[in-house]
């Protein structure tokens, strides 16, 4: 089975990664690629690393012909814009996977809290299934609309949910994030100008705070816990990757070995979760759809280190994983990328 598929917004890094994955996915027939910046050009001419991968002509998102028959649409459009097009295609009966931050809360009040403005289409929110594959697989199956989980939320949620379901911790959780530059997009700006940032480590422009609320929502929905979450993001001079160092204050001592066993059980059948003996490094998952988890205990706290590739498990990779679940394909179809070492 080949799904007639569109990707909206292939210009940015997430769109580029998704195009790379779908161009080789056995169940995908790419029919539409949109790009405002490169519209009118052949895809593989605009993106030299993809020479030979697609001869589709890039079109503006507003110019997709109504006659184009589509089974599936991925939107990598920016938050705020994405839901406009998601809604339009959903009404036509197209299955949609939205990679923006528009539809990740079912409650409009949560959206407003996270984004500081009300959602554009409140009624759309309740239709979207939250696309965090490992935790929400049953609801993802056959869903018409998936709100792909955010990169920080995926990295933190998969790291702490099994723990919080099992153990009691003090009220507040501290998450110290180390994030790569691809998390802040493809548009050139001073905060990502090579010469200035290559030897810098800084909180400047790191952002991601809206996903604090997304994580809180996950903790409540999947563990039933209400916590305070201190989310602090520092930009690190690497291209790809997110590391979350989560500090959880314990009520009683727990051994890392016990926790490792708990996690190994929890994620037993999950192809993309790796439970490690040591806190993992970011490079160990680079270019792949894995998330790796490691643990240690210090000074009455439990420290969980989680790493993923923000463009893969944090975005395009998980979108493909969710798509595989929706349509009942083997969950790792098209996701066999080995971490790039070195």
């Amino acid at each position: 089975m080949k799904l007639k598929t569109a990707i909206l917004g292939v210009t940015g890094y997430v769109g580029q990664q998704l195009l790379s994955l779908l161009a080789r996915h056995p169940n995908i027939d790419l029919r539409v690629l949109t790009s405002e910046k490169f519209s009118g050009r052949r895809a593989d001419e605009a993106f030299p690393h993809l020479l030979g991968y697609s001869d589709l002509i890039l079109s503006p998102v507003s110019k997709i012909p109504d006659s184009e028959p589509l089974d599936l649409l991925f939107s990598c459009l920016p938050g705020g814009t994405s839901s406009v097009f998601v809604r339009k295609f959903l009404e036509k009966g197209v299955r949609v996977i939205d990679l923006s931050s528009d539809l990740r809360f079912s409650d409009p009040a949560d959206y407003s809290l996270a984004h500081g403005v009300a959602p554009r289409f409140p009624e759309l929110l309740s239709q979207a299934v939250y696309g965090l594959s490992e935790l929400n697989r049953e609801r993802i199956k056959n869903a018409p609309l998936i709100a792909n989980a955010g990169c920080y939320s995926t990295c933190v949620s998969l790291a702490v949910v099994p723990f919080l379901k099992e153990y009691e911790v003090e009220n507040d959780i501290i998450v110290d994030i180390k994030s790569s530059f691809s998390t802040s997009g493809r548009a050139p700006k001073p905060e990502s100008h090579y010469t200035e940032v290559k030897e810098d480590v800084s909180a400047r422009g790191a952002g991601g705070d809206d996903q604090k609320h997304e994580i809180l929502r996950v903790l409540y929905d999947f563990c039933g816990v209400k916590k305070k979450l201190l989310f602090f993001n520092t930009r690190i001079p690497v291209k790809r990757g997110i590391m979350a160092t989560s500090y959880l204050r314990l009520r009683s001592e727990i051994s890392p070995d016990e926790v490792r066993k708990l996690y190994a059980g929890f994620y037993g059948d999950d192809a993309f979760v790796r439970v490690c003996d040591e806190p993992p490094g970011m490079a160990s998952v680079s270019g792949s759809n894995y998330i790796s988890l490691g643990f240690c205990e210090r000074e009455g706290h439990f420290v969980i280190v989680s790493v993923l590739d923000n463009l893969m498990k944090g975005a395009a990779g998980q979108a493909v994983q969710n798509m595989n679940i929706v349509f009942g394909f083997p969950e790792d179809t098209g996701l066999g990328q080995v971490p790039l070492f070195p």
Copy 2:
């Protein structure tokens, strides 16, 4: 068909890359992996990025049981050592692809010139077919022993051979190489200590001069020309990749467009050669088996810029490509890695 396969020397970067590729190759059944450094450990425990890819126990190369039935063997052992084991397995009827520099010359005199010592098994040299896929495909088919081409030789030879077959150039060719750190191996040393090299660009320890002779041999064997070749290698702070900037002094003016057409024709059916409109950047092929070529004309010289990933098209990728040719598999089997962008 699944070939019972051994990889000798999986510890280093070339061995690691080859293991990544073969672990997912549909025609390969990995049976033996050797590593002196990690012998006794499970492969995917020793190499955390490959967790789940292979549960074989790593053994020393000297301890491969005689009873092990093998169809195919790849050697990533160091030059000098590799031919000892190549010879042994070849005699048993195992097909061999040697990635070392031991067998790349058919004439012992050339070997001596390049390496400063005589070859260990001169009689082995004439049995080995030079594994530069695009130029030597017909001889590679069904060959029992392949001497996989060197990374610098591949990058320079594929760049200049079509030109030299067609046009006359002055006697000497200058090749200015920019090479990444993975070309100098995995053993820690001052010249690759992070703190010292990250902001450096230097000829120190760049090496590769033995491949100057390999390239000269290719030019003679495939173009019938004898040239002087000035090979100058500068180490650049990137992980993967080689760029060769080849300066050829012309007798008469030639337009880049004409040359592009020539190359497009020459490499018409080759899946892994990209003829570009602009001199390509190293990152455009990173992680993939492509070599990209670009051209310009300046001051009576023709400048050819070629880039490849030294661990892929420069080593393990081309080894798999050669293996596909030897056994008649589609040439890109197991080599669908998209260049990693960004």
Copy 3:
């Protein structure tokens, strides 16, 4: 006044930085430089970036002639070895500034706790004045023996001491450290091999835990508080610099502005402490002797971000600053290095 000066152990990064500083210090007359690795060579031949800075012949530390008249000695020898030579020269009446971790605790029990072994010369510990310039200036003046503060201790202590003297915080402090590769020395090892670490972020080999105890000692000695300190160190792919993100749980709300004023007052006359409006980036102090501090309040915690160059304010720069204090020179003599931007 010119002090006849020796530096023991100039091979490593701290020794190199110190040699750079002292070669241009107006009150220093360099007489002895030791290096085991480069002994017998001229200093500026062994260290090409210092060509023309010193024609002294490097000698092994054991071969310093007894006849050499010295006023001052800096030891950059490794912990464990340093105190042997410190003791010897101290007995001869030479003033000593020790940059190792041998003498940073006055109480042998603290030393044992931090290092897991007893100190070699317990009696020496009580003679050493702790060399954290801004906090201990009065005792440093005229002291015969200075134990230069550690890089992590300096970065954390200067960041949290004014806060803890003024405000009450919950019992435990979490310090998430981001550290550069020069903190782990000049000896090549897999954990600092360029190809493997350039795109990695990892806790592997980050170390520094002995300085947790050093910080606890400072907090007790200078603020009178006993705390639990969770110290977690992650290695970041930059050459120079340390960032400490300190999380302090508050009993009541405090505004960053109020804290900024407190710090501006506390460090009012200190040339090398910068109180910033925003959490500072590591590059903003690179190559200089500054430490920069920034603040924010989140979820009932106060977050203090501090950055310094580990080879300067974290080691050699502070050693020179301490020396200036000992001898009554203006505190910034020889320390006018502007942060390198970009």
Copy 4:
């Protein structure tokens, strides 16, 4: 003596470097700093790494009050604009050092050839003395107007002039340039967006071709030779530095030792030229005003490797050096920056 000094255009990297140097120069009294981007802000607030270095308020270049008494002016304005202001202040009797590319040719025809347009003020060209300190020192003394040499021209000219004055070479010279990202300015653009370039090596956007003509002019003026020069520039992922690999085809064999002696004699008294035993690495001069030169002989060519820090000896450092020469200060005043190692 303190010169009342203005810097026009301190926003960019050259302006920033110059401000760093002049803020600590004993003969400089900074009175005016212009910046279009940051006008109205305090200098050390706009440039956090310079906190405490200057409390001047940045003004637009068009708003410098006529009443401001100035002895000296440095212009770091862009080419095309710079000469407008240079002319204005020169007419007022202010000494001017222009760091732009506006005035580096005395012959308007050369300017037109290099820039593709005619010079704005042809009469100004003949008044400007070319500011390549080591080669033109006598004419720089007391000159009212200096056209500071370009970064590529300095790196290549100082490397090849002594050679070409002494030896005959074939007609064409090939210069393969490796250049850092600070050579292409501070304005964010796709070609310098961190995520895309950090692992790339590419000729894209490298530019600098106008300096080919500047170099040809130097070769003619200082050696009396007319050559063809092939200038090919590749961008390398480092912050600071230029390496020029110059290939000169010989008529007869010359030993590197002989050449080293020649250069040592030629640059005997020059504080900032280092003649090395090995081809030098870029990092060995980073942050300093040195240029380092190394040599080898290969295949009938002489290869000269030269490195400098493009913001120092390639721009702001040499501007200060020229200023010292103009006013008769010791040539290294304010230029004691030690190369930053590591």
